[in-house]
Symmetry: C2
Subunit: 178 residues, 2 copies
Amino acid sequence: MKFCSSCGGSITLRIPEGDNRERHVCGSCDVIHYQNPKMVVGCLPVWEDKVLLCRRAIEPRHGFWTLPAGFLELEETTLEGALRETWEEACAEVDNPQPYCLYDLPHISQIYLFYKGDLRGPRFAAGVESLDAQLFAEADIPWDELAFPIVRRTLERYFEDRQTGLFPFRAAGGRRAG
Amino acid sequence: MKFCSSCGGSITLRIPEGDNRERHVCGSCDVIHYQNPKMVVGCLPVWEDKVLLCRRAIEPRHGFWTLPAGFLELEETTLEGALRETWEEACAEVDNPQPYCLYDLPHISQIYLFYKGDLRGPRFAAGVESLDAQLFAEADIPWDELAFPIVRRTLERYFEDRQTGLFPFRAAGGRRAG
């Protein structure tokens, strides 16, 4: 960040009065431009004994399989965002959505929230950001071609929870050592 | 947003290719400046039959009681942020933190996540953004002087859950009608 988005002035990094960390502050109009983590929201769509995955048509991890997810938009609830991404990436709709997994990814300043839901029917297709969308039974999950570690963890957790029939919400990440 | 923070060029609102909503795009360097919701993280600190509240020393809602909470910072986990805010606003530390409530506030593009935790001891004080910090039993909660509706809802939920001894994670908000 070099220029103030409000007045076009030059930005300097400094600790504002009453604050305790460096911020991007405009030298001309004194506006403080805070930067904060972004939320990514998505779904784990379930149909009978299968889960729905999408094959990414975009970088990063082009060609790898993922759960439908994307950045939460302004003025959107987390559930609205999760359902929107499921529609955009997999042309799929889910019923009975429940919050299922929260992941902290502090190294990239992102928080992921996945809802689990029932696919409304075996209706889905590749959206514009996907090369393919397919249902996978546990034995057929392409474990070596998953896009991100949190996709693997969500699937592992789901198949584990399915043995008990209980799907408690879980947050992973927490406090880092050091 | 009027000026590009990367090059100082003029910003226009338009739908970038492959997107489906208006973004702030620089007319000079074509950088897209995405805007996304912010996460607020906080704690419900519990000590014996009491909960810890802070009286706000800042606007909005100066002088009203709230739970320690604030904006999640870059490269921070949600739990780290919740514990940091609890320390900054109430000079308090909590053990056994568990995610407890998630609230969508789409009208202000904020997502709130509260952890519930055990106060490490009856040690607390007003931080710089608080006028006061106090423990309240259920009968003494200043219901008419709470800062925000989500503080009320979190407290109501806590006292309700306490009757069963179970404190399941809950997400409120969800999909809006219309």
